[in-house]
Symmetry: C2
Subunit: 482 residues, 2 copies
């Protein structure tokens, strides 16, 4: 009998796998006697105990019959297929769901594990966390503190009450939103808010409105759910309400800092937007992804603060104010939606991680979170200043810079040139060790303006200056400097 050990893991487990394969392939046929443990041990160069233990286990699992020592026989386990009859994998693959096919179509390169920027000297990618040693040590203290009271049972599906209370307090003071803990749902990041909203608010074929340009993650999930996704024009003052379609189940908006253009939606447009939604019984999702970071004056109140008719689902994220690995965010839901979203969260994952929630609740109640926000705003402001100064100095008149005095990124529109030019610039820059990203993937129409999305959170000011100097050289080298 030919037994081939695969060399992975302990001998005992290898032998069990090999014998099972032989039985299932009918190389060891039903009723036949397996070799005596001593002879198989000799043949394979393993101890007799190993063979006996393997036989024992196979017997317990029903592959062998008889008693160890007095001889074991292969059990009859039904009409097994021989290797020769085995159909190809291809023929066996059942079709995936419509959701899965769309999910594969929209997520293409996005699934590469980790960011591929190890070969870059400078990376101006948006969404990189602000690395802050003070935050890291403060957060570690909070984790250690929270881990002293490890919770073992299932968490509250809606989120830790202490955290929801802190969120309400924070929203009232900083975002003008009056929420009660019952209307807050803690989730595993902003992306889950879009996913839950897809399930709770949309049926197949419903229309969803996104700003154009917009955050890509939202478009991907709504498309995967089979929604008809439509763009609405954005100008210097953000979303243009008169361009809204007549019917839609849902619109996703970024009124405090339009993503990615940085525009701030004026009050009159906010009111128009709310009236549009109320008249159509549509929902508004306010993605307040970085409304917190506004460098001149206080942050403006959220759209949710004007929501007297319960149209607005508010999403708050900790990926920008703290860091993405935390995987925590929250939603403030209109009264009429609370129960349905809780049910959807319950059915998905039974609630988000308790430890981080407890650490965050204490970080917020102790004042540590807002101290961090003040420090982070100062750091970001210095980085933004360095980037603006560098762009003026090194890129001449090539770009029109949108300076929204807020957030973690700038938009730089190429004054003369095409999307192809912009892409050529980005490719060249990456060859030179500079991570540069165009606005194009965030737009519906390639007719939209060509430009760059310049993230400044991930680099200290000196590196930003150097990165933008390199950008200037790349402009020259690609004949795009104006």
């Amino acid at each position: 009998m030919y037994i081939d050990l695969d060399g992975q893991g302990p001998r005992y487990a290898q032998l069990i796998r090999a014998l099972k394969a032989a039985i299932l392939d009918s190389r060891l046929s039903a009723g036949s006697r397996v070799p005596a443990s001593r002879s198989l041990a000799n043949e394979l160069g393993v101890s007799r105990n190993t063979v006996m233990a393997a036989y024992d286990q196979l017997q317990a699992e029903g592959f062998l019959l008889g008693r160890v020592g007095s001889g074991s026989y292969v059990a009859d386990i039904g009409n097994r297929r021989t290797s020769a009859q085995q159909p190809t994998n291809e023929a066996l693959v059942a079709p995936l769901s419509a959701f899965a096919r769309r999910a594969l179509a929209v997520s293409d390169g996005a699934l590469i594990p980790g960011r591929q920027h190890s070969d870059l000297r400078y990376n101006l990618q948006y969404g990189l966390p602000l690395t802050n040693p003070a935050l890291i040590s403060a957060w570690r203290r909070e984790l250690n503190r929270a881990s002293e009271r490890v919770e073992l049972d299932y968490p509250d599906v809606q989120g830790l009450l202490a955290l929801r209370e802190q969120i309400c307090d924070y929203l009232a003071r900083r975002r003008g939103v009056n929420a009660s803990p019952e209307n807050v749902l803690v989730i595993s990041g902003t992306q889950q808010a879009f996913a839950l909203a897809s399930r709770v608010l949309l049926d197949d074929g419903d229309t969803v409105v996104l700003e154009d340009p917009h955050y890509r993650g939202a478009r991907q999930i709504f498309s995967a759910y089979g929604a008809r996704v439509r763009g609405v024009r954005v100008d210097d003052e953000g979303l243009v309400p008169s361009a809204l379609p007549n019917r839609a189940r849902l619109a996703v908006v970024t009124p405090s800092h339009q993503f990615p253009t940085g525009a701030l939606l004026p009050l009159a447009r906010r009111v128009e937007l709310l009236e549009w939604a109320t008249a159509r019984k549509s929902w508004l999702i306010e993605d307040d992804y970085d409304g917190e970071f506004r460098f001149g004056g206080r942050p403006l109140a959220a759209l949710k603060s004007l929501d007297h008719d319960g149209r607005v689902v508010y999403i708050g994220s900790y990926s920008k104010t703290l860091f993405p690995a935390l995987r925590l965010g929250y939603m403030v839901l209109p009264e009429s939606l609370g129960e349905a979203f809780r049910a959807a969260k319950w059915l998905e994952d039974r609630g988000s991680n308790t430890l981080e929630q407890a650490a965050l609740a204490h970080f917020m109640s102790s004042g540590g979170f807002e101290r961090h926000l003040r420090r982070a705003a100062q750091s970001l402001s210095a980085r933004r200043t360095a980037m603006l100064a560098g762009l003026r100095k090194h890129t001449g008149n090539a770009f029109e810079i949108v300076d929204s005095n807020a957030g973690m990124h700038l938009t730089a529109w190429l004054r003369s040139g095409s999307h192809a030019d912009c892409e050529r610039l980005a490719v060249h820059a990456r060859e030179r060790g500079l991570g540069l990203y165009t606005v194009a993937p965030y737009s519906f129409r390639t007719s939209a303006r060509p430009g760059l999305l310049l993230g400044y959170a991930g680099l200290p000011p000196a590196d930003i200056e150097a990165a933008v100097r390199l950008l200037g050289r790349c402009l020259l080298e690609t004949n795009l400097s104006a």
Copy 2:
């Protein structure tokens, strides 16, 4: 002007809210002048600075025009609705999706935050964690260790590589499953596996087969997704393959320890099940929720170990081997499904929490996890023994006990009596401070046998003995003792 502060949060924020409400309700009409800061401050008993700061903010947000000091005017923000015209909330509520309506229907009482057992002296609820001081301190050490290297950026959507490697090693040694890290997907608990499978494998109206009885969470999520859920008969040897329907997209099975009956599926039935799936291009989901805890002899290999045709999606959970609050589990996917499940996970939440994954990877690689498993198996075995002894002593012949020598629960079938009797017993027991749960909610058919699901993980042996003694008294008091 009547301004009503709501008393929540700082005065400044209260005043802003009150003024906005007045403007939006047209109590302060467009073009009208707001009171001088000094006079409003006097009227409300707040400092003049508070009023000026509020005006300043309202101006920044576009509610007021003009200059602070020289008088501010209410801006015209479009055709606002007066309070009198405001439609009722009822009329405004848009319909929820079909998913949401089904989600609300299936989740009913399940959404009560936290378990309601504080008034119980003894709780025999299944799923309560095994409280183990050694585990808690070991886990705290792992968390502290992992927090020394806080990851800030988005996690690997598929799960930390170090953890996936540990999972593969573990599965090869303990569950007979030969998996490679590329086929492992780390998820936020078993429930998410069912949710992802619903999206990736099912279209509306597809048939899903569940064992009858079965784990309720699976039925709830598949029903919410609009699947046709069918039960298949279970006997003393688990699922009866001949009772499987001719067509189904998917079957969920618990071969190592049928939930909740405890039956162990024999090899011949496993092979039949695999052949059923292959012939129909159907998928099998193996929920190996507690296959690890087997008190006599080694745990049996998983169904997945026989899966040569790539039909089996294997789900592993840490909610039973560690504790539910961890919210971590994993799937081993057939080659053909890996990419689609990764895309679905990416679209849902961008990956599970990194810190716990890092802590778990080290807990596994250091041998701490398996030390814990050995200790936990000993504790569970002692608790099970105490429960069996107690049942023999205190409940006479009332129940037929299924002793599967494994897991964290027993099933006790009522020898004579109806489902109503069983429910009456449970209600009476809860009044007496004993948490007792019937099998009925896990079955499709009320014609199934009446019985109790007795969890023994949550109580030390002495308490189990006392709890079962109380159960015996409850049997007498409800005239159900045999």
